[in-house]
């Protein structure tokens, strides 16, 4: 207790001064009553078992920090008995206060709209003031050159080079307390004392900072070093944030360039598609990134319409640049020729050297339709074979290559093949981005999948087929898509009296009985969108028949979980048509009528009979390519037919 009284006595004079200066009460904690410190509190152990605690707020302070603390130090010195202790206390308090002040100002600066360079040099100037040095600098390195910014003018390139050399050599903190040390370490610098180092930022763009005295030597105490180190931390943060920001700006400008390139490439696609007599054309292109190596072109002239689909090997910007050249080379031929083989042969001749030089090749399918619709011929330079849906027998024919890709041989053949197009036939030109997508089980959409789609969708207009191909492509690869460039061109030879469905709905599900519910969902959805109102019993009969057909395919044709089933519901003025296509085993159906025994009813085998009873016509075909094709029609009730 006597110790406590002693200390209290000593502090009598200090208390009012403290209160005056800091607007706060100075108090002393004794024994185990340890003070809690926060960022703005400072405390010191006066004597064993007693803590002197004072709180300072930077905003309360009206006078310069150094002046206040010096005043406080003198007062403390007078008040305290153990001089050594107070000496150390004063030193630590000054350091702590300075660090706090510096950090506070740094925080304010970093929130300011000033640029990183400006913030750095301001911070350096502040630190310089705090440590009582004359001058400070920041050196920013870029492209092998370091640019110095000083808080005062009048430094020569020679001085800067000498500093730089010393800092690079020191590989850490460089500290010179005396003029001698300065002269030895930084010859010709003219400093009385110096402290500096390289910041730990990206090596390709180094940053150096330093502070120096030019008039009076300065012996750095521990507090100065601490201030310098916290300065290093602050500046490193400022610079890193600035560089992150720069990177963002860079990638933003690349993004803008890509977008422009994408606009250019999209702008090269034909705005309107010419339709040769009796034909309808729909086309789309989706690059994997903003731009890609896929391109299509449609050109009308010389009495025919030419349709070109090409794919430059590779992706992205380099492929896109080449695709522009390919388009130009082929376009230039259109003016003088309409023979696809000759056009491709000539284009190869003009592109060959360029393509060889960059080690790329181009696959192209080029098709020429006489404007009067009388004939169609094609050449295929190594492009994935186009598909030809032949309406007369529901066959999918492959239009194979007729010659080599451009850029492989200096001369290629000019062979062409005719395509015998009849009413209702559909041609599909595409790039491998369409077929080479996998679903979540790794199953390729492939030519089989696309063939199945054509067999299902051929009754739709060209645009409808295109839209469905695109949608299925997206569904197939799901959300974890690795995308490739994709081009689709659909060419349909219109039937004599085209009757296209008023409303249709296409679905594609896995051939698994667990998917039956989604068949119900689809037909209900279709019914909900019908322009005509049909009564519930009529609808439920169709619903049941459709579900039976799908279940039949799942049970007997497709190995469960192996393949997909495609379905199309289409409303025509007099009937609805249901098409289902799968690529499972052939279906053997017993067309004999079902024997019904009321007393011993069969425990199965009703499905086909329901379909036959409900539908007005059923066609089943086993098609080449292992396709099963079902086409079922039910006439609309007379009351809702829009035509007879």
């Amino acid at each position: 207790m006597s110790d406590q009284n002693e200390i209290e006595h000593q502090l009598t004079g200090l208390r009012p001064i403290w209160n005056e200066l800091f607007g706060d009460v100075l108090y002393v904690a004794y024994g185990d009553d340890m003070p809690t410190t926060d960022a703005l509190a400072v405390c010191h152990e006066m004597v064993p078992g007693a803590w002197l605690i004072g709180r300072m707020r930077s905003t309360d302070l009206r006078v310069s920090a150094n002046a206040v603390l010096k005043g406080w130090a003198v007062t403390l010195q007078a008040a305290a008995t153990v001089e050594v202790r107070t000496q150390r206390l004063v030193e630590q308090l000054v350091t702590a206060w300075n660090r706090l002040g510096l950090m506070h100002k740094a925080a304010l600066l970093m929130r300011s709209p000033l640029g990183a360079e400006q913030i750095c040099i301001e911070l350096m100037a502040m630190a310089c003031d705090t440590v009582e040095l004359d001058v400070a600098f920041v050196g920013l390195g870029r492209d092998g050159y370091v640019r110095f910014m000083w808080t005062q003018n009048g430094f020569t390139n020679f001085q800067e080079a000498s500093i730089l050399h010393a800092l690079i050599r020191s590989d850490g903190l460089l500290r010179c307390d005396t003029p001698d040390q300065c002269n030895r370490m930084i010859p010709g610098g003219g400093f009385k004392s110096f402290i500096g180092r390289r910041l730990l930022t990206d090596a390709s763009r180094p940053v150096y900072i330093g502070m120096a005295a030019r008039e009076t030597p300065h012996t750095y105490n521990a507090g100065d070093i601490q201030i310098f180190e916290s300065l290093v931390e602050q500046l490193t943060t400022v610079i890193e944030i600035d560089r992150l920001h720069e990177q963002q700006v860079d990638s933003e400008s690349i993004r803008r360039d890509m977008e422009l390139a994408s606009e250019v490439q999209t702008g090269m696609l034909p705005l309107t598609l010419p339709n040769p007599d009796g034909f309808s054309i729909a086309a789309m292109l989706k690059p994997a990134s903003k731009v890609g190596g896929d391109l299509y072109d449609v050109y009308s002239g010389n009495g025919s319409v030419s349709v070109m689909v090409c794919d430059v090997s590779g992706k992205g910007f380099p492929a896109a640049l080449l695709s522009f050249e390919v388009r130009a080379a082929i376009r230039s031929q259109f003016h003088s020729a309409n023979h696809p083989g000759v056009i491709l042969r000539n284009a190869n001749q003009s592109l060959y050297e360029d393509l060889v030089r960059v080690n790329r090749f181009v696959t192209v399918t080029l098709l020429s339709i006489r404007q009067d619709g009388s004939s169609v011929v094609y050449s295929n330079a190594g492009h994935p074979s186009a598909l030809h849906y032949r309406a007369s027998d529901h066959q999918i024919l492959h239009l194979e290559s007729t010659t080599f890709p451009l850029g492989i041989f200096a001369n290629i053949s000019a062979a062409v093949q005719p395509i015998d197009m009849e009413a209702g036939d559909v041609l599909l030109l595409y790039s491998d981005g369409l077929t080479e997508v996998e679903d979540y089980k790794g199953r390729l959409l492939g030519l089989g999948g696309i063939g199945q789609l054509l067999l299902t969708l051929n009754s739709l207009p060209a645009e409808g087929i295109l839209e469905r191909l695109q949608a299925v492509h997206g569904q197939h690869q799901g959300e974890y898509a690795v995308s490739d460039d994709m081009t689709i061109v659909v060419i349909k030879k219109l039937p004599e009296n085209p009757v296209e469905p008023d409303i249709y709905l296409h679905w594609r599900i896995e051939g698994d009985l667990s998917q039956l519910a989604s068949v119900s969902d689809s037909i209900q959805h279709f019914a909900a969108n019908l322009a005509v109102e049909v009564d519930q019993v009529w609808f439920e009969e169709v619903h049941l028949a459709v579900s039976e057909a799908a279940a039949n395919i799942m049970k007997h044709s497709v190995n469960e979980g192996e393949g997909y089933i495609n379905g199309l519901y289409a409303l025509y003025p007099t009937h609805i048509e249901v098409v289902m296509v799968d690529n499972g085993r052939p279906f053997n159906w017993d067309s004999a009528p079902m024997r019904f025994d009321k007393d011993a009813p069969a425990e199965g085998g009703y499905g086909m009979h329901i379909i036959r009873d409900v539908m007005d016509s059923i066609q089943y075909q086993r098609l080449p390519g292992n396709f099963n094709h079902w086409r079922m029609i039910r006439n609309l009730p007379n009351s809702v037919r829009t035509r007879n």
């Binding site: 667990s514 039956l516 519910a517 049941l544 579900s547 009321k598 425990e603 009703y606 009979h609 329901i610």
Partner: protein, 112 residues
């Protein structure tokens, strides 16, 4: 397909079904009917109130249930068949095989 089974005296049980009775769930329905009969209930009412779709496979499962109860001198009747169920029954002519009730009490009484 979900279900609950309610037991009544005199070997009677009401099987409340919900969801779909189709080719996907018919196997479960067959097993459910077999299990109910095995536990001694042979006068069965299948309550279809909460069923939203029945196809020929679902009905076939009910036919197999009918055969099993008949082998034990039991009965199987249906209750609360919605329009869709009635369409399916009519298309298969099984409406001639299964007695239909709109009221569970009537159905229970019929099995007494």
């Amino acid at each position: 397909m979900q279900y609950t089974v309610e037991h009544f005296p005199n070997k009677r049980a009401v099987i409340h079904l919900s969801g779909r009775l189709d080719a996907h769930t018919a196997g479960n329905l067959r097993t459910l009917l077999q299990d109910t009969v095995n536990s001694g209930y042979v006068f069965l009412i299948v309550d279809l109130q909460q069923v939203n779709f029945v196809d020929s496979s679902g009905l076939s499962a009910l036919v197999s249930g009918l055969r099993i109860v008949k082998e034990r001198s039991g009965k199987l009747v249906l209750a609360h068949a919605a329009v869709q169920t009635q369409v399916a029954l009519k298309q298969t002519r099984l409406n001639l095989v299964f007695p239909l009730y709109d009221d569970l009490n009537d159905a229970l009484k019929s099995l007494n």
